[in-house]
């Protein structure tokens, strides 16, 4: 089976899903990491809690990876390529966009909330749980987009 235009569109979608959401995760985790470094220079005992806070924006990258993987699998690109029309490819490209775009922004904003949470942890003892919860709330939108992308990718 030769690759067609459908595969090309689908691959662009898969690439966008992983690239854009991962860039968001990089920014979010990076910013939170910078803040965590500053906090730890003052109080290294807070490492455990801050590690979880720093990690939270990494999730969007994983979601992007899942969608990209599913898209590639759907096109048979992990083994023997399957018939994939131009419209199927375009549809795959379209449904990869929710996780790409929302993942990107939610990771960045989650990183910011995580940074604020780190400040909270510095100023108030025992606030790790609340700080983690606040940052996690941002992720729900990334999960919504994951659901949409996932259901659609599987059914194309």
């Amino acid at each position: 089976m030769e690759l067609g235009l459908g595969h090309v569109y689908g691959c662009i979608g898969a690439a966008l899903a992983i690239i854009v959401s991962s860039i968001g995760s990089c920014i979010g985790v990076g910013k939170a990491g910078q803040m965590a470094g500053g906090v730890l220079s003052k109080d290294p005992s807070k490492f455990g809690g801050l590690l979880v806070l720093q990690l939270l924006p990494a999730t969007q990258g994983i979601y992007g990876f899942i969608i990209a993987f599913m898209a590639l699998m759907n096109m048979g690109l992990l083994g023997a390529p399957v018939e994939f029309s131009k419209y199927q490819g375009l549809a795959t490209l379209a449904v990869c966009l929710p996780i790409a775009i929302i993942g990107f922004f939610s990771a960045i904003f989650q990183g910011r909330v995580a940074m604020a949470g780190m400040e909270l942890c510095v100023k108030q003892e025992g606030q790790n749980g609340r700080a983690i919860l606040m940052a996690a709330l941002v992720e729900i939108f990334a999960i919504f987009s994951l659901v949409v992308s996932l259901i659609a990718v599987i059914n194309i």
């Binding site: 455990g48 979601y63 993987f69 025992g126 749980g129 994951l146």
Partner: protein, 686 residues
């Protein structure tokens, strides 16, 4: 395996016995002090001056300990690199490392030697100050040597070149390569010494001095500032001698510090003694005092309360002691007692919060789930075995602190999980082992019998199965969280809350499981072992799906109806109902969050597969290349294992803290911090 029950302790005694009492409590090791609420006639002490004294002694001791350590490391480096003069130094000792375990009495006994030890600390302080002076002097000597060195070629004494009544004598130097000078139109007699640096000695009439200086300046010459009764060479010899003396003194001081290294442990013990004294002062700051008496409140484990009382009456008979049960207003400290499997996982909970004294210890169930999920995310037989061996053997061969040991123990158990899941996935460092003969345990769903491998399913070949497994595991863990929440409510006889806040979300999860059963059964049927076909009858999925749909509608309606049950207005009631439904959306998001099991599991497997393909393509050509390839392969897999472990550790923690604990954990407890543990350099034996 639980949160240990606490007994409330109140000690009352004469102020004159306060210090003795604090010493006793510190040595007892199971007394957590609580600030006493002040009432009429009671005040807190002001120990700021004593605290400052303790801090200053601790600073002196800490400096001495660090200085000894640094000097030993420096000498060790000098000897290791065999630097010039390495033989002049004494034998260094390795200080620092893991805190040594000691009995608390050992720490207190050191007080009898405090004068001797503090004298050592003083001496080290003086040595450090003298060393700083020597280093500064050596720098000055070095710069002087450099400066006088420029005139080394000038044979006369530096003060012999004096002006006469009519003539001037000028000595100058240039370090430049281009130091040619033109005195053609100036009346001057001059002599040059050396090439680079070149010293020039010029004699001219006083009225020509300005012109000579100008020429010298233009050619980059600098006037000699020295005016001493010796030649530059003699001065250099003098500086050499001074430098030698300084170096010898410095080595002498370093060797003295090496000799004082024998006091290292005593310095550390004394530091920890003052740390305990500092802790006592902090406790004393919140101990209530009247004119003649003091009151100390605190907690001790219930099973130790009787022994504690007896000990107090025996050692401090003049004290009054009251032991009571905690009241409803009290929040006793949380002290968990768990077995060897659960204990290492407690650090995960502490990343989030300290469990509340009044709730069930969440660690045992969390430890199980952490263990279970770890293998799904990092499921490889070889990787797991490597982790088990590394974490199991490291404490036997290395001297490690308690924290690191706990961490390794946790990874030891997680390694077992990875090993087991590695077998389930049939993954052996990214390779799959093909089954040549049909074993009795396996019943292949693949009728053709082609490409059948050991294990239930290979995530790389059947990723959807891994996704299904991840989501089902997520639903199971969340359901477990709601069961714990239901039990907690039921214990407090809050039956309506138990039904609305735990049972309904739990039923929602079950309905999701039923709705998806069709898909899940089909997914699980495609594995090597056909669980779906063995356990469930044919076409059961459709029936379950219908039942699930009805259940879901019923649950959503009930959640909406009871969500606002505590509201006092109609608006509040509907708002509460909608809020309940929003909670259900969050719960759906929580289920999907478990997709990270799939993401991490697959990425680890994919990277391992990619490494194997890479090594196979590049290196498997001849015997030599094969040997190199095996080495490269090991390095690549170690890298993949490290990355997988890190990702799994943190993402697994996140699932426990956020998705699982978010369902039932109250938290906001306070740690049981008994007196007598605030040491830095030693660890007090239990």
């Amino acid at each position: 395996m639980a949160i240990v029950k606490m007994s409330k302790i109140r000690l009352v005694g004469l102020k004159s016995d306060a210090e003795k009492t604090l010493d006793f409590l510190s040595k007892y090791k199971y007394f957590h002090q609580e600030p006493v609420a002040l009432s009429d006639g009671l005040t807190y002490s002001d120990n700021s001056e004593k605290t400052d004294d303790v801090l200053s002694i601790k600073a002196k001791l800490s400096f001495a300990i660090d200085y000894i350590k640094k000097q030993n490391i420096d000498v060790l480096q000098i000897k290791k690199k065999n630097k010039l003069g390495a033989e002049s130094y004494g034998q260094p000792t390795k200080t620092g490392g893991v805190p040594q375990e000691v009995e608390i009495d050992t720490v207190y006994d050191i007080e009898s030697q405090k004068d001797e030890i503090l004298a050592v600390a003083d001496e080290i302080e003086k040595i450090s100050l003298e060393t700083v002076d020597i280093v500064s002097s050596l720098r000055t000597v070095a710069s002087e040597k450099k400066a006088y060195g420029l005139y080394a070629g000038f044979p006369l004494k530096l003060n012999t070149m004096r002006d006469t009544r009519t003539s001037s004598v000028i000595v100058a130097v240039s370090s430049s390569q281009k130091n040619e000078i033109n005195f053609d139109d100036v009346n001057v007699v001059f002599e040059e010494y050396g090439e680079v640096p070149k010293v020039i000695c010029a004699v001219c009439l006083k009225e020509d001095k300005k012109a000579v200086l100008e020429r010298l300046n233009q050619s980059g010459y600098v006037l000699c500032p020295y005016n001493e009764d010796i030649t530059a060479k003699q001065k250099l010899v003098e500086l050499e001698r001074k430098e030698q003396q300084l170096r010898e003194r410095k080595i002498e001081l370093v060797n003295r510090v090496l000799t004082l290294t024998e006091y290292d442990f005593k310095l550390k013990l004394l530091y920890d003694f003052y740390s305990l004294k500092g802790e006592q002062l902090t406790v004393d700051n919140t101990t209530a005092k009247s004119e003649y008496t003091f009151i100390i409140d605190g907690w001790t484990p219930e099973n130790k309360a009787d022994a504690f009382k007896k000990k107090v009456l025996k050692n401090l008979p003049e004290l009054c002691i009251e032991v009571s049960e905690p009241s409803e207003e009290d929040l006793p400290p949380t002290f968990t007692k768990n077995n060897g499997f659960v204990k290492p996982f407690e650090s995960i909970t502490l990343m989030y919060t300290v469990p509340n004294y009044r709730e069930a210890d969440p660690n045992p169930i969390m430890a199980f789930w952490y263990f279970f999920l770890f293998g799904i995310m990092c499921g490889d037989f070889v990787y797991g075995l490597a982790v088990v061996l590394a974490c199991g053997l490291a404490p036997k061969f290395l001297k490690l602190g308690k924290g690191v040991q706990n961490f390794l123990k946790m990874f030891f158990w997680c390694g077992i999980s990875s090993t087991v899941w590695g077998l389930v996935f049939g993954s052996f460092a990214g390779f799959s082992i093909p089954l040549k003969e049909q074993l009795p345990f396996f019943s292949y769903s693949d009728a053709s019998g082609a490409n059948v491998y050991l294990g239930w399913f290979n995530p790389m070949e059947k990723p959807i199965m891994l996704l299904g497994l991840s989501l089902v595991t997520g639903i199971a863990q969340l359901l477990c969280g709601f069961i714990i929440k239901f039990t907690a409510f039921a214990k407090e006889k809050h039956i309506v809350d138990a039904l609305c806040e735990a049972a309904l979300p739990g039923l929602f999860l079950i309905s999701i499981l039923l709705i998806g059963s069709d898909i899940f059964i089909n997914i699980f049927k495609s594995g090597t072992i056909d669980f779906g076909a063995k356990v469930l009858p044919e076409n059961i999925g459709g029936t379950l799906k219908d039942a699930g749909m009805y259940m879901l509608l019923g649950v959503l309606a009930l959640i909406f109806l009871f969500g606002g049950r505590k509201a006092k207005s109609i608006g509040g009631y509907f708002g509460g109902g909608l809020n309940g439904l929003y909670g259900i959306i969050n719960l759906t998001a929580d289920i999907l969050s478990y997709a990270r099991l799939f993401g991490l599991g697959l990425s680890g497997a994919a990277i391992a597969f990619a490494f194997n393909t890479l090594v196979d393509t590049i290196f498997m050509t001849n015997v030599v290349m094969m040997i190199i390839g095996i080495g490269v392969s090991v390095l690549l897999h170690v890298f993949n294992l490290a990355i997988s472990l890190l990702g799994t550790y943190v993402h697994n923690a996140r699932l426990q803290l956020l998705e699982f604990y978010g369902k039932f954990l109250v938290g906001d407890g306070k740690m049981f911090k008994p007196m007598g543990r605030a040491t830095k350099y030693t660890e007090i034996k239990d």
